[in-house]
Amino acid sequence: MKKIINDPSNVVPEMVDGLVRSYPQYLRQLPDTQAVVRADEDSMADKVGIVSGGGSGHEPAHAGFVGKGMLSGAVCGQVFTSPTPDQIYEAIKAADHGKGVFLVVKNYSGDVMNFDMAKDLAEVDDIETKTIVVDDDIAVEDSLYTQGKRGVAGTILMHKILGAAADKGASLDDLEKLAQEVLPNLKTIGIALHAATVPEVGKPGFELKDDEIEYGVGIHSEPGYKREKIKPSKEMAEELLGQIDKTLNLDGSKKYAVLVNGMGATPLMEQYIFAHDLLDLLKEKKIEPAFMKVGNYMTSIEMAGLSLTILELKDDQWLDYLNYPVETIGW
């Protein structure tokens, strides 16, 4: 393991410190926590707060999306490990400005349970909270009897849409309704060329041979649905788009937002090439994305690979929300 770090067990506090001190205009760290909230207190007045977070290692998610027009706060857990309820609770308190707090949680047992416990704590304080559990990763079969699909890069689009709506004055109930409407239309699927190394673990989460790629990986080196020899970008784009097409039934008469998300170690060069292939394939379906973004948004430390997220824009307002101006580090 070769990393620019000090003590592997201290990466999160040092990282959060570096982030907040580099960007004091955006972020404030809550004392004795690894939770951050907007520095711009005024921008939260009279608005529903939005709090997200999860394990660290997904930078710029989630702290990089804290700011006017997007998240009110983010809680940074240990690497790939859900933050604890006490810290989430602190973020909820700081994000509450009398209108309640909406929680955006990625669907992992740890996140769901810890945010749940934090919710219980907030209830004691009479802070009203509601939650959306994002499960956009179609690589995993959904089932009532399992944890179900994971929450991955699509979460960023959820943050963006909810953040804009909250900034425009949506109530906690409005946000819950909006989140529930958006969620079934939000689908993501990823691919890895090599896995991430958690600093405290010291070796990659899984091993791929020099010519192997894995389809359907999660953002914590969870295994995917198949492993294959490396292929040209165009064929990877075909595979990922094909999977999404199966669930969204892509259709040239509908509007879509597209996010090509780098996993951390994959350069923009490759992401743009993939975007080129993807746009060609979409064109064959007579689809021009109404909104598109390419870059590192929900990473997996230094995993090489990318994910493709497509959101069917059922409502034109969602597009306005995606284009709504924000003041954040990472958007």
Partner: protein
């Protein structure tokens, strides 16, 4: 055979020692079917538990359980944090009325099941807590039962937690949370005069 703050502390210290010793092994177990951090998560947690019990000696059983629960909840994170935390929080609640281990463990096991929604057979720590709580009730918990419960998770298909993403591929691997829970019960057995 009675639970006291002293033997509870002894039990927990023994559990903490096992976790510290097996930290790498637990993370290794968590690598093929999880994210490789279970040993680190638990080690961080039990260290905080010990610090809490040392810096503020609990007077009552309930305080002791609460301190343990809060340390685990605020330091473990991940999936195991709220689950272990809930287990000890439920024991804290129950200990207001009784110090009977049968009732305490029944409450803890029920709490874990409720918090995580897992059932016996889902290849989680529930597969250790649930049958071993029954053994405590039956008054005959032995190390062989612990080993049996832990090892039984090997052949199961994971239905909850990260391992569930693997589906059938999770078969053949021990569940890390079951293994760490096994240490908790092993430590209990080893603690003189507690059972």
């Amino acid at each position: 055979m009675a639970l006291t703050v002293e033997n509870l502390t002894e039990w927990i210290n023994s559990f903490a020692a096992k976790i510290a010793e097996q930290k790498d092994y637990l993370s290794e177990l968590d690598t093929p079917i999880g994210d490789g951090d279970h040993g680190n998560n638990m080690a961080r947690g039990v260290k905080a538990v010990q610090e809490s019990l040392t810096s503020k000696k609990p007077a009552e059983l309930t305080d002791a359980f609460k301190q343990i629960a809060m340390a685990l909840i605020s330091k473990v994170g991940g999936a195991s944090g709220p689950l272990y935390g809930t287990a000890f929080l439920e024991m804290a609640k129950k200990s207001k009325d009784t110090s009977d281990l049968t009732e305490l463990f029944a409450a803890a096991a029920a709490g874990i099941k409720k918090r995580g929604g897992a059932q016996v057979g889902d290849k989680t720590m529930v597969d250790v807590w649930d049958p071993l709580a029954e053994k405590i009730k039956a008054g005959n918990l032995a190390q062989a039962d612990v080993d049996a419960a832990v090892n039984a998770t090997k052949d199961l298909v994971a239905k909850k937690g990260r391992a569930s993403y693997l589906g059938e591929r999770s078969v053949g691997h021990l569940d890390p949370g079951a293994v760490s829970s096994g240490y908790l019960f092993a430590a209990l057995i080893e603690t003189e005069g507690i059972l």
